[in-house]
Amino acid sequence: MRKVSRRGIVLIISIVLAVVMAMFVGAALSLGPASLAASQNVSRQIQAQEAAESGVQYALSQFRKDPSWKGDLNATTVNDPDLIVTEDNGNVVGFVRNGSNQWARFDFRFNYQDGAAGPDGLDNPATLSLSSPYVSVNNLQAGGQADVPRADGPGFSVTGASARPYTVPQGAVFLAVQGRSGNVDPANPTLTAGSTVSAVEAIFQVGDLGAGVDSAAAMSAQNLTSNLSNNGNKMTVEGKAGRVPRLRSRGSILVNGGSAAENYFSDNGFVNTGSGFTANYDNNKTTAQGEDSSKPFYQLEWDKVRKADAAGPKMAAGTYVWWQDGTLHYYDMNYTTYVNHIKANPTDPGVAAVLPGNVVTDTAGKKVLRLTSSVSVEATANSQDFSLLTRNGAAEDPPTPGDDPVVVVNSVASYAQSHCPAFMSSFNPQAGSLVVTDLANNPVFSASWSYSGAPSPATYSSSVSGPQGGDLFMIHRFLVDPTLYPNYKVASSSGWAPAGVAEAANWAQAQGVSVNDPALPAKGEINPTGVTDNLSAADLEVEFAGGTDPVVLSSQGDIYLTGAIKGTGGSIVSEGNIKVVGLSADFSANEVNGVNLYSKGDITFSSLDGKGSVYKYQDVNLKGVVYSWGNFNAKVGNQQINSWGKFDLEGMLVAYGGDPHGLPGTNGKGNINISADEIKMVFDPSFVTALGTTLPDGFHFKTLSWTSQLQ
């Protein structure tokens, strides 16, 4: 056996070791840079994420100052040593330097980069075009949802054919922000290649009403009273998307009528009152507690309310009257003056209404007054109010005993007895009776009355009975004009004649007693003598048609509208009172009045629809903010005529009772009165962005969605 050479063994071992070492050296050389790259990458990732987050925070801070902001300040808005932000026609680029002197950047765009005439309302950026398909959308002040497009057209533009993968809700903003780290240079803002990119897509919505304000669906500086029908329904209060359902009143909250078992329902809700909550409710679901008077109401001050640009389109103040032939007539006078004038001059056509270019009429179906952008009402020498109505006017209320001393036998006598004894002495007859039946001689009602004694002291007695004896409205109507009820007849009577009632009313009026003309049974109706015109509130409509842009109708005086209000994002702003009669008069149950209302005076709705002698209340579905310095009254039902609609408000209702610069209730007002079959109120603060020029101090943006990813 041959002996192995030692040198050979050493050589072999050396070769093996050399090979192994070469492998290790190779591995180390390859792992070293990889590790370094990995560590750099992790560092860049988090810096890119934080840069994207900073972009979101920058945008939110700008929205706080101006809810209409969309990156269009066209300036370097921040120029600090370690923070530089530039806005260029809707494109925003920011640079953030960290503690190790490294720059990261964020960028986002509202600009469609589709030229000046595109739907974004922005010209192309002068220098900061962004090669990103992600587009942000500010929908804070719109009344409806908006599409979120992708910039997938030429040059990263948005075209009509671009994909629209998302929608953003009304009163919300969609932000798509990209953060970049590595290869970032503030001196070269167009440089985006070679960076680590992190993207954030998020939707934010106004979450509350500001610091210190306990949000609520309704806030009343005095009392909140709900009068429900006797149909067994209830008042319901909710908070949208998890917000606290709450009512607040510095006085009392009272729910009348409705279900005897439960006429108020608010799951996990609160009712805050200064002097008590009276309703049938489950205290396991609803907590009644005291109202802390040190806690503010939502303060929306006049100078922060969005109004029409005074230098923009204008309409002359006065009364605008739709005629049945589709013409719109103008009278340079306030509503009350017009009513008196037209009664004396029933056929006066006034003059043809002159409208600005952004206000058009449409008579193809209903008589529509369409506002395509904001318009202000300009006072004239004779008028500062704005009224829109039909020739016959519109019934705000059905005739009720409280409005008219001659409505029912017993009430007129009682009224006269207490207010004008001399009237009683002339009431002819001072005693009488009336029996009314249907044509088949079935009793309808019987009434009798008697009066004795000198005007003072006097004694009086009366009675009304029969199957319809409780229907005072019908009885009143019958007394005024029995021909309104062709199926009824007077079976017997003594000392009664319709003319006698009218005479009594005329006499009372001459004595200075405020009474309605018995021939005008409903408040608000005009019915000029000799005029045949069948238009009613159900035939009229005011439409806010600004698309995603808010449209405001603002006036220094009262605003009185007849008919339905349609559209989204509309606002009616008045330094006087606001009254809408016939609201929803011809809406189906699922249609919505999308409108925000702000008044320095009272706000009154009536959904009464009157045609001839038939009166009926319609449902009211309202989306928006209703803010009054005075009282709020919603007339959506009436016990006298036993007609009821439903009242549904999604947004917020405030009866501040004074100037919101001060404390609530300083003017002695601030009552909320709602009469309806059932009432539903849903708190949603997102509408405040449509009404105000700023957002509430200290409010939260509620994050509706948030997606973050590395790219």
């Binding site: 071992i13 590790s35 988090i46 934080e50 900073s54 920058y58 100052k65 921040v78 190790s100 943006f701």
Partner: protein, 143 residues
């Protein structure tokens, strides 16, 4: 003899190289947790400020600038059995936001391995672990 000496030198060099590589890998593997630490610190601190936890945090943060939290004062941050030191500073951004409660601040956070701040995060033989991030925050941030 020469061969044996050469082999010994080579083996020692190889050991040093492997050690260096392992430490480099360790640093890379620890940087990801460090990034999470930075995220956690930022989120935790801003949550406390926004919700005034503990009481007084909100005004303390917003009413002055400078160092907000420093681990030399409040203690190190431990995560995954590793100790980190850190420092968070804030500065009001002029020209952005508005008066209270609409102010905006820039927050700078730096994270190091424990006891390496003075060396710029450099741990002997392990290289630097120094993470710096910056963020803008609104006085009333999204909840």
């Amino acid at each position: 003899m020469l061969a044996v000496g050469l082999v010994t030198v080579l083996i020692l060099s190889l050991a040093a190289l492997i050690t260096s590589t392992l430490r480099s890998n360790q640093k890379a593997s620890m940087l990801a947790p460090a990034a999470e630490v930075a995220e956690t610190l930022m989120t935790q601190e801003m949550y406390g400020v926004e919700n005034d936890l503990p009481a007084g945090s909100h005004s303390a943060f917003w009413d002055t600038d400078g160092i907000w939290k420093d681990s030399t004062v409040v203690g190190v941050f431990q995560s995954g059995g590793v100790d980190y030191e850190y420092r968070m500073q804030r500065r009001l951004v002029a020209g952005l936001g508005g008066p209270p409660p609409n102010r905006v601040k820039k927050v700078d956070l730096s994270v190091w391995w424990l006891n390496t701040r003075n060396n710029g995060g450099d741990r002997q033989g392990s290289g630097k672990l120094e993470l710096h991030v910056s963020r803008l925050v609104n006085e009333v941030a999204p909840p």
